[in-house]
């Protein structure tokens, strides 16, 4: 059953009809999938796939044009010594860095790499809808083709679901055909898996192209069970509507092992159709270098030091 209209009662009854999530069961399913042993050729495939899914991110108060430019260079050619390494999925920055990132990518052979901007008073979401709209408009005007918006967790937790829903609808309207919309649930603040499932459906019904776990500013972030619950949500939503929504875990995924576990979760939950940067992204910064080091090890047979990957 989908939403009949966007009234509070309609949203509530829609979410109430969702199946509950048993925490113990979800945790144990995620733990079981973490035991998958991915070796040799499948590991190499997973590493390249993970690289192509990274939203290479810098979201610091200390970000400068120089830092963002370095990040963009890395995004286009993650390993300067090996051109067979794919470019990353996107570059993710704050609004004021969007134009800098876009220009740098365009000048350096990265014109097919999208720039994602965090929007709607990221990371807290504590601003008026008007400000959030202008924030989004500004990001798109600067060249962002992906918008990572945050939901109003306060509204969600207080039961004001219509507000959460309406905000997503408004931002989606602004994005239109110009930008992909990723909706950040900040699962570390929603806490329960029931909330994660509800917020996932709420975001999808409101028009999200992607649902994203976290801002990266709150811990815990993209834990395996949370990603599992979100992957189940997009899978079920596809069965209901025929529409595939993407998933983006972000925060806390730092090692190749972590990334491969995420891909296993995707493979055995939403299914192989989601193993595509169009439907799965990993928000990360440090992860890329670990993937590159593992990739070198796979190719050469030996581990190289940290100075053989670039620190940007």
């Amino acid at each position: 059953m989908l939403l009949t209209d966007s009234s509070e009662s309609s949203i509530k009854s829609f979410l109430r009809n969702l199946s509950p999530v048993d925490q113990v069961g979800a945790d144990s399913r995620a733990a079981m999938l973490a035991t998958r042993s991915i070796k040799t050729s499948s590991k190499l495939w997973a590493i390249d796939t993970a690289i192509s899914m990274i939203d290479l991110t810098t979201l610091e108060g200390a970000d400068t044009p120089g830092k963002v430019a370095a990040l963009c260079t890395k995004a286009v050619r993650p390993d300067p010594s090996d051109s067979s390494v794919p470019h990353v999925g996107a570059v993710c920055v704050y609004n004021d860095m969007v134009k800098i990132a876009r220009d740098h990518l365009d000048k350096n052979g990265g014109n097919e790499i999208p720039v994602a901007a965090v929007s709607t008073a990221f990371p807290s979401g504590r601003a008026s809808l008007d400000v959030k709209k202008r924030d989004t408009e500004d990001a798109i005007a600067s060249g962002a083709t992906e918008i990572d918006m945050v939901i109003d967790r306060g509204a969600f937790l207080s039961g004001n679901l219509e507000k959460v829903f309406t905000e997503i609808v408004c931002i989606k309207e602004i994005c239109g055909e110009r930008a992909h919309l990723k909706v950040i649930l900040e699962t570390g603040e929603l806490v329960t898996y029931d909330n994660v499932r509800k917020a996932s459906f709420l975001a999808m019904a409101a028009g999200a192209d992607f649902i994203k776990t976290s801002t990266g500013k709150v811990s815990p972030a993209a834990t395996a069970p949370v990603v599992l619950v979100m992957l189940e949500a997009v899978r079920d939503y596809f069965v209901m509507t025929g529409k595939r929504i993407g998933v983006k875990p972000a925060g806390g995924i730092r090692t190749t092992k972590d990334a491969i576990k995420q891909l296993v979760l995707v493979n055995e939950t939403a299914g192989p159709d989601w193993l595509d940067p169009k439907l799965f992204r990993i928000g990360a910064s440090a992860l890329l270098n670990d993937l590159l080091m593992q990739r070198m090890k796979m190719k050469s047979g030996q581990y190289s030091g940290r100075n053989y990957v670039t620190l940007d």
């Binding site: 199946s19 509950p20 999530v21 048993d22 113990v24 069961g25 979800a26 144990s28 399913r29 035991t35 998958r36 042993s37 991915i38 070796k39 040799t40 050729s41 499948s42 590991k43 495939w45 997973a46 796939t49 189940e232 069965v239 891909l263 296993v264 493979n267 055995e268 192989p272 193993l275």
Partner: protein, 480 residues
């Protein structure tokens, strides 16, 4: 598939399987008095692993004498704390040699390495740790003052969890001060023989644990031996009944852990994705070779279609194949005989009009294999709803109301396990009170812990294993 998992086989280099094995009596591996040898094979490829000894009645006699002498001269003279010391030692050795046991168990039984590594062997060690703790506290177990052991116990264990069932039997027997003559199943003797080495390594006094390999005739000789004071058996209801008759005219104490036809009851408000996992775990864990398997799926009719769609999708992901591959979910059927039995019962399902469904899956050519399967359109009268299949075959039955679910769940000669899936706490409590089953899981399935008693109602057995209740089976006192 985009994401193929490359083979990830666990190495077998860690196990050292001898070409032949003798019997373990009085702390030594000794040849049989006149017994022949028989082969034990790897059911996933039919390769012979080793040749073990068929223990004769004379061997049983020798083992019982050794156990009896050990009981009189050493084991009953030790304090609880001293017995506990040996149990702790065994538990630690099991942990240290866990990988070796896990690989060997997988090879001899056919079950996936993921399960032996993550379930069988860690739980076996946990049983020794748990009972080691009880050894010097038996006066405080609520079983009366100074409860006494039986003496020599004869233990006969099945092939589905060879090492784990050994632990369930040996650990409480030793903790309570009994000595043991144990017979592992005919098709899975190797981990018990490796356990004999562990007893030596732990310096366990001689004769406290004796291990005799053999078939049903060896088991019968143990059951009927006058020097044995208690029998503990896990296996089929059919053999359990024979044993009960055999010991009926003796003073032997008896515990039986027999078959089951567990109902996994799914109410409409169940957390559906975790329920599907629980259904999978309930029937496909250990190839369905589980006495407490959730082999009857009782699903509320109004969510049947949704649940079955999800179940089909999930079953398509089950990875069937080489048990030593770390990504295998469903391994080999333990023996040709068991495979024939599963096939025969599945065919009866077809013949009686139930509809069979299995995902597309490539079964290896060599070895004994059966795909994960469920039947819909099953009624209570069908053989596949009443008889224990002991394989990866699920019978799906619907119900309309909670009381109908309970009625159908209890409508079986067995009473070992049941599962309840609902988001309502009150319904869990109400259902658990109505269900006639020894073990009831709520929103989970096939979870085991040494502290939790396990056992059945009706034809599923007598007595409990594990926990404080399990101790009482190995003790005599005011409580009994």
């Amino acid at each position: 598939m985009k994401f193929e998992y490359a083979p990830a086989p666990e190495s077998t280099a860690i196990v050292d399987i001898q070409s032949e094995y003798n019997l373990f009596i009085d702390d030594k591996f000794v040849p049989s008095k006149g017994g022949k040898r028989f082969e034990t094979i790897n059911p996933s490829n039919e390769k012979v692993l080793s040749r073990v000894t068929q223990a004769t009645a004379a061997d049983v006699d020798k083992a019982v004498k050794a156990a009896s002498e050990a009981y009189r001269k050493t084991w009953s003279k030790l304090s609880g704390a001293q017995r506990g010391k040996y149990l702790f030692r065994i538990a630690r050795i099991l942990q240290e040699r866990a990988r070796e046991f896990a690989v060997l168990e997988s090879m001899d039984n056919g079950k996936p390495i993921r399960e032996t590594r993550d379930t069988d062997i860690p739980l076996a060690a946990a049983h020794f740790f748990y009972h080691a703790g009880w050894a010097d506290k038996l006066d405080y177990a609520g079983l009366g003052k100074n409860p006494k052991p039986h003496g020599v116990v004869g233990q006969i264990i099945p092939w589905n969890f060879p090492m784990l069932m050994l632990a369930w039997k040996v650990a409480p027997a030793l903790a309570t001060g009994n000595t043991v003559v144990l017979k592992p199943a005919e098709t899975t003797p190797l981990t018990a023989l490796l356990f004999a080495e562990v007893c030596q390594q732990a310096d366990l006094p001689k004769g406290v644990v004796n291990i005799l390999t053999g078939d049903g005739s060896t088991g019968a000789a143990i059951v009927n031996h006058p020097g044995i004071n208690k029998i503990a058996f896990t296996g089929s209801t059919e053999v359990g009944k024979i044993i009960a008759k055999s010991v009926a005219s003796s003073k032997k104490a008896l515990t039986l852990e027999l078959g089951g036809k567990g109902a996994n009851i799914i109410f409409e408000d169940a957390p559906i994705d975790e329920t599907v996992e629980g259904v999978i775990n309930g029937i496909f864990f250990n190839q369905g070779h589980v006495c407490c398997a959730g082999s009857r799926l009782l699903v509320q009719e109004n969510i049947k279609d949704e649940l079955l769609e999800k179940l089909k999708r999930r079953m398509s992901l089950i990875r069937v194949g080489d048990p030593l591959d770390k990504n295998t979910d469903l391994g080999a059927i333990n023996s040709q005989a068991q495979l024939m039995k599963i096939r025969e019962l599945a065919e009866s399902g077809d013949a009686e009009g139930a509809q069979r469904w299995s995902p597309q899956c490539q079964l290896p050519e060599k070895g004994f294999w059966f795909p994960p399967t469920f039947f819909t359109g099953v009624s209570q009268a069908h053989r596949i709803a009443r008889e224990e299949i002991f394989g990866p075959v699920l019978s799906v039955i619907t119900f309309r109301t909670p009381s109908e679910a309970i009625e159908k769940a209890n409508n079986t000669p067995f009473g070992l396990s049941a599962g309840i899936w609902t988001d309502k706490g009150s319904r869990i409590l109400w259902s658990a009170q109505q269900l006639k089953a020894g073990v009831i899981w709520a929103n989970t399935f096939n979870k085991f812990d040494p502290a939790s008693p396990f056992g059945g109602y009706k034809e599923s057995g007598w007595g409990r294993e594990g926990g404080r209740h399990g101790l009482s089976a190995y003790l005599k006192g005011d409580f009994s």
